[in-house]
């Protein structure tokens, strides 16, 4: 029997970098050699509406979608989206939201998605180098330094 995968849901509004954050997380899992799947809905959700992305990783992952009530971690970038997504979190699961970050210390407010990944990273067993590599691979060069700072801020929170 396969052990259960780790389930992460990242949620927010179109334009906040939900998909980017889930790409980075999925890349970290992939480069660490575990099975990983990631899923989200594109299209209408891009126009400022609710967006969420599911990332699942572990020894073997089947469904690409995190089942309702089975998320181990719910990362929410827009506070008003907590209520919308709360039901995906399992009992005892961890909510990671902007209240955990001192936003005044972010170089750019836009990098809050990456700061929240920093918070998430403390809960997961991937080495910090894997995160740094994935951040570099998934972000344009001019945004890298600011995002690395944000990631570290979140990780040290």
């Amino acid at each position: 029997m396969n052990s259960k995968p780790t389930n992460v849901v990242i949620a927010g509004l179109g334009g906040q970098g939900v998909i980017k954050a889930s790409d980075i997380l999925a890349d970290v899992a992939f480069s660490s050699g575990v099975d990983v799947k990631k899923s989200e809905l594109h299209g209408m959700s891009q126009r400022g509406g609710s967006v969420s992305s599911d990332v699942r990783f572990g020894e073997r992952v089947f469904s690409p979608m995190v089942p309702e009530g089975e998320a181990d971690y719910l990362v929410v970038i827009a506070p008003d989206q907590i209520e919308v997504n709360q039901s995906v979190l399992r009992a005892g699961g961890t909510l990671i939201d902007p209240s955990l970050i001192d936003e005044s210390r972010l170089t750019t407010k836009k990098s809050i998605n990456v700061a929240l990944l920093g918070v998430l990273s403390k809960h997961l067993s991937f080495p910090v180098d894997a995160w740094h590599t994935a951040l570099e691979r998934n972000l344009p060069e001019k945004l890298r330094d600011a995002n690395l700072e944000s990631f570290t801020l979140g990780r040290n929170q």
Partner: protein
């Protein structure tokens, strides 16, 4: 990276990207299509890899171009969303009977749950109706492998083939190992006259239909024995027949069950299904959408059980598959509704709808970002049927309504949608003008915005953003004999814009108003593409 490394490489890819990679690895000569969620990324990624890809004005033309490639003995993929296959259905139903020399892979991306579509049609029904074999991948690895298998099947039986994807296969990412299926190199491009095989006049089409049924019988027999189906041994008390992404949910919910996972779902491997069902106490069919597999099985006298009717609607997922297997028909929990999408701040469509709302227009609408004109605070777009329908529907309203109402009808259509299937509507307007005249408002934001900023024939740039022939809407409208043709910026000239619409509505004449201003999200890229193209020209 040398070719050796590439063959063994693992990558985390979406299903769309995996299809493109397979097409590239198989040396596909040309990819054609029309943008549509969730299929759009296939051609874009194919082009990024170095493949030749083109946006066509619509899916029918895209398929016809691809048919030409296959007639020349080469390989073609053609991509579209599920409703795109309605547009391409005419060539599809006839090319099904034509002997092809090359490979023709028709990729249909269905949208169960309608994340961004106007209906929930299940295109597996098209395979059955047209007599076109169909593969259904369940993740990115299969999207890669089934694209290659599709090429093999197409070339072996000289038939077009459908690759039926769904939103969760197209847009989910999973790990892909490259090089797991090898296909022979494509044959050389050539043409030999073979009128009896390719000219579908009745004397040729009658024997062609008989050949089609023979071919399908041969593929069915092959599918029973060697098709891309997967048998997972398990409990003898519960067997599950499934296909596509539903397979993944099934494996998670019922790891102990025996599973027959179908890859080639038309023609069905009925004998394989029969023997599977006979060897378990209870055989359930778990499928998303229409009861396609279950009806096929039941019609063949195979004892299976399907899902309750409620699960015909929307996507399946782990929770829903659990409910089906447990026979739980209690009401499903409703999720808190999310925030609806809306026009970007400063979007030119906002001004267009403000004017139409101020003028109390009746607005048959169309498909694109501007469909959000039906949402608050505008609530102004009155109808949405299919691509291009705004013009025909508007004309029908004009022909039927009392004059006072008829005079307020404005058909609203976007630039890409106009090229896709609005042009014939304009011809209809010229040919059968209503007594009150009519007003067509083309919302020209210079790009196919809804699907993620694709080029179209009205932008004058091709899929690679290089300069090419440009369809100029105002010239086209004037050429058709429409006298009142106006181009105006609805943001910079808002007052004039509203007055212009009003004056057009007051005349019993035909008018085309082109509200032209680039999409805010695309404007910078458009300027950059144009600058690069200017430099190339110099």
């Amino acid at each position: 990276m040398d070719s050796h490394q590439q063959q063994d490489a693992l990558a985390l890819l979406s299903g769309d990207e995996a299809v493109a990679l397979a097409a590239f690895d198989a040396g596909v000569t040309l990819g054609t299509g029309y943008p549509g969620t969730p299929s759009t990324e296939i051609l874009e990624y194919f082009e990024t890899l170095g493949g030749k890809a083109q946006w066509s004005p619509n899916e029918k033309v895209a398929l016809e171009v691809a048919i030409g490639v296959a007639f020349a003995g080469r390989r073609a993929i053609v991509t579209m969303k599920h409703v795109g296959l309605n547009v391409a259905a005419d060539p599809l139903f006839t090319v099904a009977s034509i002997r092809l020399d090359g490979a023709l892979i028709v990729i249909t991306a269905d949208d169960p749950g309608m994340a961004s579509s106007q209906n929930e049609q299940d295109n597996r029904r098209y395979a059955l109706a047209a007599g076109v074999p169909m593969l259904e991948p369940s993740d990115s690895q299969e999207a890669y492998e089934f694209t290659l298998r599709a090429i093999e099947i197409s070339e072996r039986w000289h038939t077009p083939i459908l690759l039926r994807m769904t939103t969760r296969v197209c847009h989910s990412k999973s790990i892909v190992r490259r090089g797991t299926v090898k296909v022979a190199p494509s044959g050389p491009a050539h043409f030999e006259h073979d009128l009896a095989a390719r000219v579908m006049l009745p004397p040729n089409a009658r024997p062609a239909h008989r050949r089609l049924r023979q071919t399908l019988a041969a593929i069915s027999a092959w599918n029973d024995k060697e098709g891309p189906n997967q048998l997972i041994a398990g409990s003898s008390s519960l067997g599950i027949i499934t296909s596509g992404v539903s397979f993944q949910h099934v494996r998670e919910v019922a790891p102990e069950a025996s599973v027959l996972k179908l890859g080639l779902t038309y023609p069905l491997p009925l004998e394989l299904m029969r023997s599977f069902a006979e060897n378990v106490d209870l055989c359930m069919v778990i499928e998303e959408g229409e009861p396609y597999l279950v009806e096929g099985a039941l019609a063949a006298g195979i004892h299976v059980e399907g899902k309750p009717n409620d699960f015909r609607f929307g996507e399946l997922n782990v929770n829903r598959v659990r409910r089906i297997l447990e026979g739980d028909t209690s009401p499903e929990p409703k999720r808190v509704p999310g925030k609806a999408p809306s026009f970007c701040p400063g979007c030119p469509h906002r001004n267009s709808y403000t004017a139409l709302k101020n003028l109390e227009c009746i607005v048959p609408g169309d498909i694109g970002c501007y469909s959000m004109g039906a949402f608050a605070p505008f609530d102004t777009m009155d109808t949405l049927v299919c691509m291009g329908a705004s013009i025909g529907v508007g004309l029908g309203l004009r022909h039927s309504l009392p004059p006072e109402q008829a005079k307020r009808v404005v058909s609203v259509i976007g630039d890409s949608t106009f090229v896709h299937s609005g042009i014939t509507g304009l011809v209809e307007m010229v040919y059968n003008p209503p007594p009150t005249g009519h007003v067509v408002l083309i919302l020209d934001n210079g790009i196919t915005a809804m699907t993620g900023m694709q080029e179209h024939p009205g932008t004058g740039r091709n899929l690679e953003h290089a300069r090419t022939g440009k369809v100029v809407f105002e010239d086209l409208a004037r050429t058709l004999g429409i006298r009142n043709v106006h181009v105006i910026d609805p943001t910079a000239q808002f007052d004039e814009f509203q007055k212009l619409i009003q004056s057009c509505l007051e005349k019993p004449e035909l008018s085309v108003v082109i509200a032209r201003r680039d999409c805010l999200l695309a404007a910078r890229s458009i300027r950059e593409f144009e600058r690069c193209n200017e430099q190339q020209a110099d």
